[in-house]
Chain length 366, copies 2
Amino acid sequence: PRNHTITILAGDGIGPEVMDQAVRVLEAAEAKFGFTVTRTAHPVGGAAIDATGHPLPPETVAACEKAQAILFGSVGGPKWENLPPDLQPERGALLPIRKHFGLFANLRPGVCLPALTHASPVKQELIADGFDVLCVRELTGGIYFGSPKGRHEENGEPVALDTMIYHKSEIERIVRVAFTAAMGRKKQLLSVDKANVLASSVLWRETVLEIAKEFPEVELSHMYVDNAAMQLIKRPGSFDVLVTENLFGDILSDEMAMISGSLGMLPSASLGNQREDGLYFGLYEPSGGSAPDIAGQGIANPIAQILSLAMLLRFSLGETEAADAVEAAVAAAIADGFRTGDIATGRDGETKVGTVGMTDAILERF
Amino acid sequence: PRNHTITILAGDGIGPEVMDQAVRVLEAAEAKFGFTVTRTAHPVGGAAIDATGHPLPPETVAACEKAQAILFGSVGGPKWENLPPDLQPERGALLPIRKHFGLFANLRPGVCLPALTHASPVKQELIADGFDVLCVRELTGGIYFGSPKGRHEENGEPVALDTMIYHKSEIERIVRVAFTAAMGRKKQLLSVDKANVLASSVLWRETVLEIAKEFPEVELSHMYVDNAAMQLIKRPGSFDVLVTENLFGDILSDEMAMISGSLGMLPSASLGNQREDGLYFGLYEPSGGSAPDIAGQGIANPIAQILSLAMLLRFSLGETEAADAVEAAVAAAIADGFRTGDIATGRDGETKVGTVGMTDAILERF
Ligand SMILES: CC(C)[C@H](C(=O)O)[C@@H](O)C(=O)O
Ligand SMILES: CC(C)[C@H](C(=O)O)[C@@H](O)C(=O)O
C-alpha cells in the first residue's frame, strides 16, 4: 500500500484534544482508502518551551524535515504571553517554520455554510446563502522578514523601522497560486494592495496584471486594503479568491474568519513550491487559536483540525479521494444538525455534541 | 466680534453639495454665537486637475497657509482613476497636505447611534445600544512617508520596498493625543500594533507604556492588529479610544466606519501640534468618499460634512458652544426621525429627506 510520512505538532490549549480527533479520522481514512501514514509527534509552542526552553526545538524541525507534511494544532496561552516576541509560542514557532520550509503560500478558506449564518456577526440578510471566500496570503516575504529591521538612535532618539520588500519573483509565484485556485472555483480573483501609497504595492499590481495574461479566463479586480476591509463586511458573498501580501493577508484573513462566524470550522494550509509529482510540502493548521479558556473541557470544535487534515491529504499526500470523503463527512454531520457549542443555536433539529461527539458523528458519515 | 479665517476645499462628487449645506450651518452659527468666519473656496482633487493639471495647486496650499483651518469635502471619481498615484485626486491632494501642515493626529469617530443600529452590517444583538469608538490614527509617519521607498533591480530582477519607520517622539505625541482624548471619555485606551513581528511596533508599545504613566487614570490595553480587525466586528461596543500607527489606522478606521453603518454621518479631524492658545490647525473632512454614483442628485447625507464643521469649530476656532449646538441639532434631527436614504428604513415615524431637507431639519433645531 502507499505509505506516507507526516509530523504531528499538537501544541497547546485545545491543540492536543482536537488533534486526537483528527488522528481518529486519519486512521479511518487509512483503513478505508488503503494507504498508511507513518506519524511522529513532537513538542511545539508553549509545551516545547516548558520541555526544552524553546518554542521550536531543533529536534522538532529535524522531524519535520523527514516528513511530507506537518499537521499542526495550535500554540500559545497566558502562561507564555510575557516572553520576548522571538520566544513566544506563536511567533517563535510559526515564523521560523514558514521561513525554514519556504511556505510562501497561505491558503485560508473563509467559509460560512448556509446552515451556519446565524453564527456570523454579520446580519442575516447580507449573507443569506452563506459564502465561500479563499484568502491567498503571501507568507514568507514583505514586512515580516524584510531587512533592515530593528532599532537605532538618531541624535540620542530611539528610531525603529521595518522594511516591506518584495522581489518580483516572490509576487509572481503567489499570484500564480491564486490564479490557479481561482481557475478551480468561480474564476474571480481580487488582488488587494495599497498601490496609491506603497511602492511595493505598485510592483505587486504590475506583476498581477502580467500574470493575469496567463489566465485569460479569470476575471481580475483590484482593491485598496482599506476598502477591502470595508467590503468584506458588507458583501462577503461577492468574493471568490482574494490574494494579497503578507501583512494585509494577516489582517484580512482574520477579519474574514471572524465574519464567517465559524472560526472553529476553518482550516488553513501553508505550502511551499510544487514538487515534480504535483504535491507540496505543507503545514496545516486550524485558523483559530489555542483557546486556553476552553481547553481540556472536551467542548472545542474539532472540525478546523479535521478539515486541516483533509487539506493535508489533498495537497501533500495526493490522497484526493480520502480528502473529499473527509470533507463530505464533515458537511454531512453539519447537515444532520450536529453542533458544538460555538455553532449551536438551541433550535429544533440540532444535536449538541462535544469534541468527541462531533468526531463520532463525522466518522459515522465517513 | 471674534473673527476667524478658514479655507473651503469642496472637491468632487458630493463634496460641493454637502459643503453648501455645511456653509448654511456655519452662517447660522455665526449669527447665533456672534462670531464671523472669513472663508475662501479653492479647487482641490479632480476639480483642480481639470482646472490646473494638479490635484493640489500651489494657490490652494497658499490659501490654506493663511487660514486657521481647512474644511474639506471629498475628492476622487472614475474620471481620474487611471492617473499615476501621485496625480490622483485623493492621494495627490491629501498626503501632501497632511505632510505640509504636519497634521499628525487623525481623529475618526466610529459612532453608531442607538436609533441607527439597523444601518450597521453587524447583527442587532451585538450592537443593541449602538456604540461610540474614537480611532486616533498617526497620520504623517510610518510606511506612508518612510524612506527608502521605491524600486531597484537585483541581478536584473525588479525589487520594490517601503520603510515603516517611527521616531520615538512621533509616537509620543500621537499617544498623548489619544490618552488626552480618553481622559475626556470613558478613560479606556486600546493601543493596536503588531509587536510580535514589527520592530517599529515594539518601540510603539514601549512608548505607549511610558506615556501611560502620565495618565494613571486611563485603563490601557494592547492588541495585535489582526486580532483587532476581528474584535471590532464582534464587540464594537467594548471599545472607547483606539490608537494606532498610520497604515493600521487606515485599515481599522475604515473597517470601524463600515461597522457603524453610517459612513454618511462620520466626520474626521486631522490636527497638527496644539498652539499656545490651546487650539489646532486642522483639516476636517467626512470619513466617506466622494460617492460619484449619487453626486448631483440632492440625496447625499450632509451630516458627515456638518459634523466635520462642528469639529472645526471646536478644535481650530475654539467656538465650543457653537460646536456643541451643531452636534445637538444633528442629534435632535435624527431623534425626530429625519432620514436621508442611506440611513432610512421606511419604518413609521421616519421622514425621508434629501441633502437640503436634512439640513433644514438640523437648522430648525439649532
Ligand atoms: C503569530 C503571528 C506571528 C502570525 C502572523 O502574524 O503571521 C499569526 O497571526 C498568523 O496569522 O499566523
Ligand atoms: C487616499 C489615501 C492615500 C488615504 C490614506 O491611505 O491615508 C485615504 O485612504 C485615507 O484614509 O484618508
